[in-house]
């Protein structure tokens, strides 16, 4: 009986103690007509060995393509200690630290994570994770409505340069509470939000303005100008950032004069593997004045009966298990283990290491763009400074190109056709510190061949 320790003797003794003859009697309060005695549709048990073989074969089937996709999830080197420690049973198999005295390990990690996020974002306080970046943005919108007591409109401006998947998620999660997320257009020449478009909202009751920096295209927004407009017009600022970029870029807490009110995003780049999309780890930070509106767990430092330092969950009155229907969010289980990985990652990288990772991403993406534009006849969609990724314009539909790159073992980027048809055949590409010059060369060579062959087949000159 996999994972069940009961011997026949145990079962006999336990049934006897309870005073029943067989285990089925324990289910006698369940209406008879509902009970089933088999589970067709579930295959028979395999041994661990058999499942290991199966999974290895499936993994081998998927292979390891050379990855040039970003678009919200980034391939970074993960230092070996990160998961060796994160998967230690004491972290891996513990619950949320409800018994603080028996969970000081997890609680201190939470406190350290919060400290790191607060420092990176230049905000006062951080929580200890939300599900992911997309839901963090949704929670930030809901929180802004709660925090901005004077604003009644629940009207939030969201530039189209914000990750489109995140915009969709934010809409699904906030619509029940009546939020209106209004899209701000971008400049298709620059790939950024032009602060002037805000002018038509001047004087209106806008609860918040979302600013994603770098934006979904990898371009740098004029965050200062946007934030200044918000402050001048009584709107809060919700910052969305790739936290790796914060090693180099002005942090949300310093945007404009006053800084953002809420900063959120996806901390996956901090030691969390791509893993087909999750589990990742959303983060959120805010100003001290708004801390009671923040969703999610928060660990605080305090003292014990003997005056020794210790850590405990705090401000729990914000949470569902205390406040129930009036909680700041329904979130309960969050992404603790990934938060642990991120904390260890940041300890290993430190300010210098993280700055180098960020710098390498900029440099590698530039190198990639150069290689592809000079050698493959594609062109960069936008000028201007960018971080981490870039939009390239092709002379033909992107999907078939990506498919033929995939067949050559290259994950060549993300097709923007669905969300940004106005850009034409636009491809979002990304190179982090993990891509070598040889990798970029491989991509350029393969793309060149792909475009050439397809062109030749179609009788087109590349």
């Amino acid at each position: 009986m996999p994972y069940i320790p009961h011997t026949d003797e145990d079962i006999g003794a336990m049934l006897e103690r309870i005073g029943i003859r067989d285990i089925d009697e324990l289910f006698d309060e369940i209406p008879k007509e509902l009970r089933i005695d088999s589970l067709p549709g579930v295959p028979a048990a395999l041994t661990e060995m058999e499942v290991a073989r199966l999974m290895s074969e499936r993994a081998a089937q998927d292979g390891r393509p050379l990855n040039f996709i970003g678009a919200g999830a980034y391939e970074h080197h993960i230092p070996a200690p990160v998961w060796a420690i994160t998967t230690r049973g004491e972290f891996y198999s513990a619950y949320t630290p409800y018994q603080a005295e028996a969970s000081q390990g997890t609680l201190q990690v939470m406190y350290e994570f919060q400290s790191m996020i607060a420092s990176l974002t230049a905000m006062d306080v951080s929580n200890a994770s939300l599900y992911d970046g997309a839901s963090a943005l949704a929670e930030a919108c809901l929180m802004a409505v709660r925090a901005h007591r004077r604003s009644k409109s629940a009207h939030i401006l969201v530039p189209v340069t914000v990750n489109p998947a995140w915009r969709r998620v934010a809409r699904v999660i906030t619509e029940g509470q009546g939020l209106v997320l209004e899209e701000l257009p971008y400049c298709t020449e620059q790939g950024t939000t032009i602060p002037q478009v805000l002018e038509r909202y001047a004087g209106q009751d806008i609860t918040a303005l979302v600013i994603q920096q770098p934006n979904f295209f990898g371009q740098l927004e004029d965050a200062d100008a946007l934030a200044r407009w918000a402050r001048a017009n009584g709107a809060q600022v919700i910052a969305v950032t790739n936290p790796v970029s914060l090693a180099l870029l002005t942090p949300p807490g310093e945007w404009g004069e006053g800084g953002a009110d809420i900063a959120c995003g996806e901390a996956q780049p901090f030691g969390v593997p791509l893993s087909s999309g999750g589990p990742y780890v959303g983060f959120m930070a805010t100003r001290l004045e708004h801390v009671r509106q923040m969703p999610g767990r928060i660990a605080g430092r305090t003292v014990d009966l003997e005056g020794r330092t210790g850590f405990t969950l705090t401000l729990q009155a914000r949470e569902q298990h205390i406040r129930r229907g009036k909680a700041t969010s329904n979130i309960c289980t969050n992404q603790g283990l990934l938060m642990t990985a991120a904390t260890i990652y940041l300890s290993l990288l430190g300010p210098a290491g993280l700055a180098r990772v960020a710098g390498a991403c900029v440099a590698r993406t530039r190198e990639l763009v150069e290689a592809l534009t000079t050698r493959c006849g594609v062109r960069a969609a936008f000028p201007g400074p960018r971080f981490h990724e870039a939009v390239l314009l092709l002379d033909r539909p992107v999907v078939p190109v990506l498919e033929s790159l995939a067949a050559a073992g290259i994950a060549g980027g993300y097709d923007l056709a669905r969300d940004f048809p106005e850009l034409g055949h636009a491809l979002l590409v990304c190179a982090t510190e993990t891509r070598t010059s040889a990798d970029i060369e491989t991509y350029a060579r393969t793309l060149h061949r792909t475009l050439g062959r397809a062109a030749a087949a179609a009788g087109v000159r590349p």
Binding site: F27, A52, M55, Q104, G176, E254, S329, G350, P385
Partner: protein, 487 residues
């Protein structure tokens, strides 16, 4: 004398670093106007310092791997190590979520089969794996209920009925979806008060959220009656499947007529809790809600798998996460289910229930008071220490803290809210009889300590890394982020 582990920032020295992890410096050419003025304050420590620090911190935790952890409502069962190592095969870890489906057929095959197995164990018509935890599963369910009524033009249905015993996420979710909450009482026997239900039902009823077995540790005996009543009133019925472990393979929510269920894969299917997550709250739906299922869902075209999105499911409530949910968690659950197989899943229900009822019986014989003495326990049960509080002045909290000294994690305390001084105890099927017996012995010993020296118990724990912590101070003198000395 042994050092309390300092905060990592206190180990930091300017210029130190785990430099094997630093890529070479590169020219970034980011214009000055975008550049950060001061670098962020992050720890500057050596690799050994980081390893030592976090290894030591880990040792301060209680966990399933080190202690019996009978935390009610949380299903702290053994998390098989194979689930972790097989979900972490390099190809799975390295795959970008937006890579073409052609490069993810192995992973998608696992998720597709997981959907099928979850359908089989819940008895539902279809499953979406994307919700990232139980609470997001609840959100998904209520959002689908809302979408259903809207699609039927039934715009007035904006009330969700929730029993008073419900987990906090139920009402919180309803609020998050913009619903009004109608709380209904439980009877003294633990079942829902049907009269209260009748009173609550109205044309405004969007649905009911029901946890079964409930958080009172009992199976709702009149479940079909409830289902019929709500459906008759035009509402839909939501099954909080957080306690599915108790009935796995014995009875299926789909067969009870429910429209939607979320399951906590991190409970029933043993993916790790990780000190607070990640989880997965996969939802199953009946025919009524099928069109509204959140995307993406794994579909199969012939022998190829692919993600279905809004283009395939135009009525879908939409997307709930940046990509497709907590894939790595799903792979762990998949491995677990394949190793258990059909017979193993039935045994989960049976032995978790056996362990709970045995433990309850032994505690009752030892003089503890069951909250629902006339009921069978599900996979968990409640004892109330009301009497002890009255007689010795020791509370559930005192018992809980003292248990830590005995090397056991405490049960859930003060939940559900309607039972005073309660301990909600869930042993799970993976614990041995000896472990349960040891736990009984500890509670009996603590009871004796309470009778002999109640004040001592107030000081517990004594042998943990810290003594009882000052929660009030934590909230009042808020210190939630490290500051450099003098900052």
């Amino acid at each position: 004398m042994k050092r309390i582990e300092p905060v990592i920032f206190d180990l930091s020295r300017s210029g130190r670093g785990a430099t094997a992890q630093h890529p070479p410096a590169a020219e970034t050419a980011i214009p000055a106007q975008f550049r950060r003025r001061r670098p962020p304050v992050l720890p500057e420590v050596s690799e050994l310092q980081a390893v030592r620090h976090y290894t030591r911190l880990s040792q301060l935790n209680y966990s399933i791997d080190t202690q019996f952890y009978p935390l009610g409502s949380c299903t702290m069962k053994y998390n098989p190590r194979a689930c972790n190592s097989l979900a972490m095969l390099p190809e799975f870890l390295g795959r970008h979520p937006l890579a073409p489906a052609a490069t993810g057929q192995g992973m998608l095959a696992c998720l597709f089969e997981l959907q099928e197995m979850l359908k089989a164990v819940t008895g539902m018509a279809a499953v979406s794996l994307t919700p990232m935890a139980g609470a997001q599963g609840e959100f998904t369910g209520v959002a689908m209920i809302r979408a259903f009524h809207r699609a039927h033009g039934d715009l007035a249905r904006n009330e969700i009925i929730v029993p008073d015993a419900a987990h906090g996420t139920n009402p919180a979710t309803a609020s998050m979806c913009g619903m009004k909450i109608r709380e209904i009482a439980s009877l003294a026997n633990g079942d829902v008060d049907l009269a209260a239900l009748d009173a609550a039902l109205s044309p405004a009823t969007a649905g009911i959220m029901l946890t079964n077995p409930s958080t009172l540790g009992v199976f709702e005996r009149r479940i079909t009656e409830i289902e019929r009543k709500v459906h008759a009133a035009g509402g839909l019925v939501y099954y909080d499947g957080a306690n599915l472990n108790a009935i796995l393979g014995k009875v299926r929510p789909g067969d009870m007529g429910f429209d939607v269920i979320h399951t906590n894969l991190h409970k029933t299917f043993s993916t790790p809790h990780g000190g607070g997550g990640p989880g997965s709250g996969a939802v199953g739906v009946g025919e009524r809600l099928l069109p509204f299922l959140p995307v993406p869902v794994v579909g199969r075209d012939g022998d190829r798998y692919r993600w279905l999105d809004e283009r395939d499911l135009p009525q879908s409530i939409g997307q709930l996460s940046g990509f497709m949910g907590n894939t790595g968690v799903l792979l762990r659950a998949y491995v677990y289910m394949r190793i258990l197989g059909a017979a193993g899943m039935r045994r989960v229900g049976e032995f978790s229930t056996l362990n709970a009822n045995y433990l309850l019986q032994r505690l009752r014989e030892a003089g503890f008071d069951a909250a629902y003495p006339e009921r069978r326990a599900s996979h968990e049960f409640i004892i109330t220490l009301r009497r002890q509080t009255r007689e010795q002045g020791v509370t559930a909290m005192d018992f809980a803290k003292r248990l830590l000294d005995y090397g056991y994690h405490a049960p859930t305390t003060y939940f559900p809210l309607l039972v005073p001084e309660c301990l909600l105890i869930e042993p799970t099927e993976t614990e041995t009889r000896e472990e349960l017996d040891g736990f009984v012995d500890a509670l009996v010993a603590i009871q004796r300590e309470a009778e002999a020296d109640a004040a001592m118990l107030k000081g517990a724990p004594y042998t943990l890394p810290v003594r009882r912590l000052d929660d009030v101070r934590a909230a009042k003198q808020l210190d939630v982020a490290w500051k450099p000395a003098g900052a």
